[in-house]
C-alpha cells in the first residue's frame, strides 16, 4: 500500500502517524518543500521515500512527485496531510491520481463556512444565523435582524485567524473600511456559549471508531483576541445531543477513514447545542496526545489500522478526563511550577514551554493532566490558573 504524506514534518505529530503506518508495512512517501537533510532523524527513519519540491503550492511539481511515486511504487492508495492548510492540495492530488478520499468538489463543504452551514441545516442541526456579506449596507441589515454583537470570519479560513467580534456600528464601518477585497467574509450572530467538540477517527464505512468530546473553558477566539489563559478537557461522557449531531455530521458530510474535529456551541442561557464548524482533520495542539492519555490508547495506531486493515483491535475506552492547561507569561499566577508539580504531579502527564507562535492560542507554558473524576480535575485546573 502506498501512502503519500504531504508535509510529513509539520505539524510534528504527523511523524507519529507516519511511524504507525510504516509499522503496518505501508510505504510512507513524503512530499514537502524542506530539504531531506533538514528532516528530523526519527521522521527520516519512517519515510520509505521523500520527494522534495521547491514549493508545495506548485501543482505541476506535486503531479511530478506523485508521478515518480507511481512509477517507482505503483498506484497511490492514499494522499493525506492531516493539515487544514493542505486539505485542498490533498484533494487536488487525489483527483489527479484517482485516489480514495475527498476530491476538491466534495471537500468544499468541509472548508467553506457558508457551505458548511447549509449542510448543517440539511442535517437538521441548529446553527447560528449567518450569511456571506460583502458590504456595510448588507451587514447593517443583517445586524437589524440579529443585533450586535456579530462575528465576522473569512469564509475560507483556518482556525480563529482573521476573526472579529464586532459590537457597534463604528466597529462595523471600520471593518469594511479595512477589509481586504479578495477575502469573502461570513457574518454570524454572536453566541454566548461554551465550545464543545465531537472529534475522533472514523472508519472506511463512516462509523466513528474513536469518539471524543472536548469542553472548552473559553472560546478559542476569545483566548487569541484577549490573550487570556486557556484550558479545555476531554469529557469522559459525551453529551447525547452532541453525539447524535456528531454522527449526523459524519453522515451528511460523508467522512470516511480520517480524523475529524467538529465544534459546537452550548449556549449559556438555555444549553442549546449549535453547530459551529467541521474540520476534516485531527484537532491541533496536543489533542491527540490528550486522547492517548484519556484512553490509555494509541490513536495513531488506530488510524493506521483503519488505513491498513479497515478495522482495529486497539481499545479506546474513556478512562480519564484529560486536560490541556495553558498559562500565559503576561499573567501573575499564585502557584509556582514547583508547587504545582508538588501537589498535582501525579496527575501531570506532560508539561512544556511553547514557542511564541503557538503560545497565543495554547499558552506559554502547558500542563497536560488527567484524572478519573471531574472535581479532582477541576481542583488542579483552578490551582494552576489561580491568579494573584
Amino acid at each position: 500500500m502506498n501512502f503519500v504524506f504531504i508535509s510529513p514534518h509539520f505539524p510534528a505529530t504527523c511523524k507519529n502517524i507516519c511511524k504507525a503506518l510504516k509499522n503496518r508495512g505501508i510505504n510512507v512517501l513524503g512530499i514537502a518543500d524542506t530539504p531531506y537533510a533538514m528532516l528530523e532523524p526519527d521522521l527520516k527513519a519512517v519515510l520509505t521515500d521523500y520527494y522534495e519540491v521547491s514549493d508545495l503550492h506548485n501543482t505541476d511539481e506535486l503531479a511530478r512527485a506523485c508521478g515518480f511515486f507511481t512509477y517507482k511504487y505503483g498506484k497511490i492508495d492514499r494522499v493525506e496531510s492531516n493539515n487544514e492548510y493542505w486539505l485542498m492540495t490533498d484533494a487536488a492530488i487525489r483527483e489527479m491520481f484517482n485516489v480514495f478520499g475527498k476530491k476538491p468538489d466534495e471537500l468544499r463543504y468541509c472548508i467553506q463556512k457558508s457551505l458548511m452551514k447549509a449542510k448543517f441545516i440539511e442535517a437538521g442541526i441548529t446553527v447560528a444565523r449567518g450569511r456571506v456579506l460583502d458590504n456595510y449596507q448588507d451587514a447593517k441589515n443583517f445586524v437589524a435582524e440579529v443585533g450586535f454583537p456579530i462575528v465576522g470570519k473569512p469564509d475560507r479560513g483556518v482556525g480563529a485567524s482573521g476573526t472579529y467580534k464586532l459590537e457597534s456600528d463604528a466597529e462595523l464601518q471600520a471593518f469594511f473600511a479595512d477589509k481586504a477585497d479578495d477575502t469573502e467574509y461570513i457574518f454570524e450572530e454572536f453566541i454566548s456559549g461554551q465550545i464543545v467538540t465531537y472529534d475522533g477517527i472514523v472508519d472506511r464505512n463512516g462509523e466513528p471508531v474513536l469518539a471524543m468530546s472536548s469542553v472548552y473553558g473559553e472560546g478559542v477566539m476569545e483566548s487569541v483576541n484577549s490573550d487570556n489563559h486557556i484550558y479545555f478537557f476531554t469529557d469522559r461522557h459525551i453529551d447525547p445531543v452532541i453525539e447524535e449531531y456528531g454522527r449526523r455530521i459524519l453522515k451528511t458530510f460523508d467522512l470516511k477513514e480520517r480524523f475529524f474535529h467538529f465544534e459546537f456551541f452550548r449556549t449559556h442561557n438555555d444549553g442549546k447545542i449549535l453547530a459551529l464548524e467541521v474540520n476534516c482533520r485531527a484537532p491541533g495542539g496536543f489533542t491527540m496526545d490528550m486522547w492517548n492519555y484519556a484512553c490509555d490508547t494509541d490513536v495513531y495506531g488506530i488510524y493506521a489500522d483503519l488505513v491498513a486493515y479497515g478495522k482495529t483491535d486497539i481499545s479506546c475506552e474513556r478512562k480519564y478526563y484529560s486536560c490541556h492547561i495553558g498559562r500565559k507569561s503576561n499573567r501573575n499566577y499564585q502557584h509556582s511550577h514547583g508547587q504545582i508539580m508538588n501537589r498535582f504531579g501525579h496527575m501531570v502527564t506532560n508539561h512544556m514551554e511553547l514557542p511564541a507562535v503557538l503560545a497565543r492560542a495554547m499558552g506559554n507554558y502547558v500542563y497536560l493532566i488527567r484524572a478519573t473524576e471531574k472535581n479532582e480535575l477541576m481542583d488542579a485546573v483552578n490551582y494552576i490558573l489561580w491568579l494573584d
Binding site: R64, A65, G67, T70, Y71, G74, K75, E95, M96, N98
Partner: protein, 390 residues
Amino acid sequence: MNIVLISPYFPPNWKYFAIGLKRAGANVLALGDADYDTFDPELSMALTEYVRVSDLHNYEELQRACGYFVWKYGSIDRIESHNEYWLETDAKLRSDFNVYGVREHQLEAIKNKTGMKQVYINAGLNVARGRLVNNSEEARAFIAEVGFPVVAKPDVGVGAAKTYKIESEDDMNFFLEDRLQCDYIMEEFIVGDLYSFDGLTDKDGNIRFWNANYFCRGVMETVNKDLDIFYHTCRYDLPAGLKEAGERTVKAFDVRERFFHFEYFVNKKDGRIVCLEVNMRPPGGVTMDMFNYACDVNLYDEWAKLVCGLPVLPNGFEHKYYASHIGRKIDKNYIHSHEEIMHKCGKFIIAQQPISGVFRGALGDYVYIARAEQLDQLNEVIAFIQAKYE
C-alpha cells in the same frame, strides 16, 4: 501537450497519429509491448519517448509507465489507442491520471448491444426489434413475433464472431448447439444495404469531418461465407436521412473530440435508416486512408491539431472523390492478375497492400484502394478486380 499513445505501431497506419502529433508540437509518449527496434523508422522519429512494458494487458505496468511520464513531462493531457481492443484500458488510465476523454462509466452504455439499443431508442432513432434470449423458449417466442430470418449475436462482442443468421428450424438448432455460453441478443433480420457514417467530433461535440461508406454486403455474411468484399465512400449517392441519423447518434452517445464509426442499415422496404452499432474509434482497415484520398485531407494530422488546440480543417472539406476498398482473397479464382489490374485500372489505384491476417476474413488478403470521380468508373474498376471464373 503530453499525449500518451497506446500501441502506436498497430495498425501500421496509426503511426500517422504520432507523426501528426509531433508536427503539432506535442510530446508524443508511447506505451506498448513491442520491441522498439521493430518500429517503422517514421514512427520512431515521431516519438518523444517510448516505454516498453512486458505486456499491455498488465495494467499495473501501464500505470507505472504513465507515472513515469508524469514525473518526467508533467500532467498527461490525452491517453489514446484509437483501438477498439484497448478502449477500456484507455478509459481506466484516463480515470487514474485524471485525463480528458471517455471514462469507464461512459463505456458502459456501448459495451453491450442491448444497452446501445436503448440509447438509440431514447434518442428516437430506429432499431431492429430485438432482445436478449437466454434459452430456446425465449428464442422461439421471439421468432414467433418477428418471423424468420433473425440474427443472433453475443450481447458483448466485437466483430462478427459467433454471429448467426437463422432462417430455419435447422439453423436454430445449430445456433443453440454452437453458441457461446454468454448473453445473446436476437434481432429481426433487416433486408437492406449496410452503410457506415464515420467522422471526427470536437470538444463541443460538433462534427468537424464526416464521410459515409456503402458496403457491398454485411460483414457477417462476408466472414461466414468467406466472400470478398468492397466498400466505398459516398458522394451523390448518400442515402436520404443517413447524415441526420449520424448526427443524432453523435448527440445521443455524446461523442466528443473523438473519431466515431457508426453502422446503419438502409431498409430496402421503406428506405428507413436502422441503427446497428456505434464504435467510439476511427473506422478500421484502410478506411481512414480512403477518407484522406476521397477528400484530399490528412485526418491523422487533423486529429492531432484538434487535440493540440490548433485550427482544424480551416477551409472545410469536400467529398471530391469516391474512394473504395476492394479486397481479394488468395483462394479465389480471379480472372485478372495483379499486372492486368495495374495496367488497366492503374490510374484509379491510389494504393494497394496486403492485409494483416486477423482481418483477412472480413477484408481480404490483399486490398486495392481505388478512387474515381464518378461511381460508374469506380464500379468498373471493382468489377474488373473482383471478376472470377465461375
